[in-house]
Symmetry: C2
Subunit: 297 residues, 2 copies
């Protein structure tokens, strides 16, 4: 397995599939369609779709069956970025090297673009599920997992706490971990599990993937925090130092850069150990954990 | 069948079920939980849940099986009101006689409360579906219908066009009908169909209910427009005249009040005719169409 070839291969099929949901046959009202597409096709890493497809491959799943779920995950991720960037939230004007959605389409349309992407994601997953009546339970489990990772017990819950702290609410290490585990971690776990659930995993398998995702998710968010301190704004495509300016609670701010880096290494090691039970099949996800731990953007 | 007793009975079981999703066992982060609950429990008509439950009853469905779907519809309706009221959208400060969500919890939290309600709605419907493996296809059809009614080809699409027109985009009777059919109508149709789909309807039955919903939905929205001109602000719990102030395209503005009232009567008559095929079972929905046509709030 060549890691880069595999990753790029996943990204290619995801990009192609995402395109079909926004082609000329998709009669979405303008300027909503443009606003949704602007943020969705702005060169993201497509990490969540890759996680779903590679977890699906762990048990030899059918990539075509998992692909709409993978696309939906990217739509949900994009919706969360659009809403997070709003003036009433993080108030960011730059994302992936381009003006943020509300800067281009206005705040009202940016809210709707996010709402639209979230709804469309479910519509796509449910339409796909209807094509596989013999695996209806697998699809229901997968889509429910996505909804719960994205929702009030996951991403939205984490974002709520993040916003609450920015607005002056009390925060400590426990709150920080809650934010990280929920705001980013929950969707990373859900991406993996949604791909896996399509293959009827047993409890040991889903437990292992859940634990892997939990560690990778936390490592990913701590790395995000570190990059906001020491990262290259050009490579990142967004301003750095924004956490410090917003006096945001972060891992490096709370424990220092060195401890933050050490924590990432530990989490990467632990994540890799969790999925060793899948043997050779886990080679890609094992390498992915390491790559995410040393990413620069 | 006593109409009022039946309607109130539906509302009672919906209120009780909605409450369970926000009781002490629901560990939703604060102030998110309060913000979601503030708007959800503010005395709405619960029309969409009633539509789902009464359509489900048309074919003798199990109300317990349909109830989580009914609750999810009310959550989605509430999310749409919270986002519509935002300053960047309709900029309303009064709803159901109380300050709007963002006036109480701030704009950021109001965005999240909407996002949270939408996600929670899907989580609830999917969790419910998993309890009925023998009716997985029925649930998938129902939830997909909700997603599509709420999404870019439905409610969000209609709201986009509404916002676009308010911002000075060109509008005519065709655009107005698009807005009405999508912004309000699509969710009314989807509420009915989602309840019906749980009972494996044949095509004639789903076609009849779809046509009924389409007529009732348009009548409902035209009545809304009429009430914004001639309604009693106290009964409505919101300011009147806001459409005229916002120079909003409405049915009375475009065709006059008399023509608007006549159109409502026609639509109510046609809606009732569509479901006559269900005989006695359709008594409640037949009466409901008439009641909605002459409502004062």
């Amino acid at each position: 397995m060549d890691f880069k070839t595999t990753y790029d291969g996943y990204v290619r099929i995801v990009e192609a599939a995402l395109g079909t949901y926004f082609d000329d046959t998709a009669e979405i009202a303008e300027p909503l369609k443009s606003a949704m597409g602007y943020s969705l096709f702005s060169g993201g890493k497509r990490l969540r779709p890759v996680l779903a497809l590679s977890a699906n491959a762990l048990l030899g799943g059918d990539a075509n069956e998992a692909l709409p779920v993978a696309c939906a995950l990217e739509m949900i991720h994009t919706y969360s970025l659009i809403h997070d960037d709003l003036p009433a939230m993080d108030d960011d004007d730059l994302r992936r090297g381009r003006p943020t959605n509300h800067k281009v389409f206005g705040e009202g349309m940016a809210v709707l673009a996010g709402d639209g992407l979230l709804s469309y994601a479910f519509e796509i997953m449910l339409g796909n599920a209807l094509k596989y009546p013999d695996n209806a339970q697998g699809h229901l489990l997968a889509i429910r997992q996505v909804a719960s990772g994205a929702g009030v017990f996951g991403m939205v819950g984490g974002q709520c706490m993040d916003l609450y702290c920015q607005d002056g609410g009390e925060a400590d290490g426990k709150v920080l971990e809650f934010i990280h585990r929920n705001k980013t971690g929950a969707m990373i776990v859900s991406s993996l599990l949604s791909g896996l659930y399509l293959c009827s995993p047993d409890e040991t398998q889903s437990g292992a993937v859940r634990a892997y995702g939990s560690d990778v998710g936390l490592a990913f968010q701590i790395t995000d925090d570190i990059l906001d301190v020491v990262g290259d704004a050009k490579k990142l495509g967004k301003h750095t130092g924004s956490d410090a300016r917003a006096k945001k609670l972060t891992y490096p701010a709370l424990y220092g850069l060195d401890a933050a880096r050490k924590k990432v290494d530990e989490l990467v090691g632990s994540a890799r150990a969790h999925i060793s039970c899948f043997g050779e099949k886990a080679a890609f996800l094992t390498e992915l954990a390491a790559v995410l731990g040393r990413r620069e953007s």
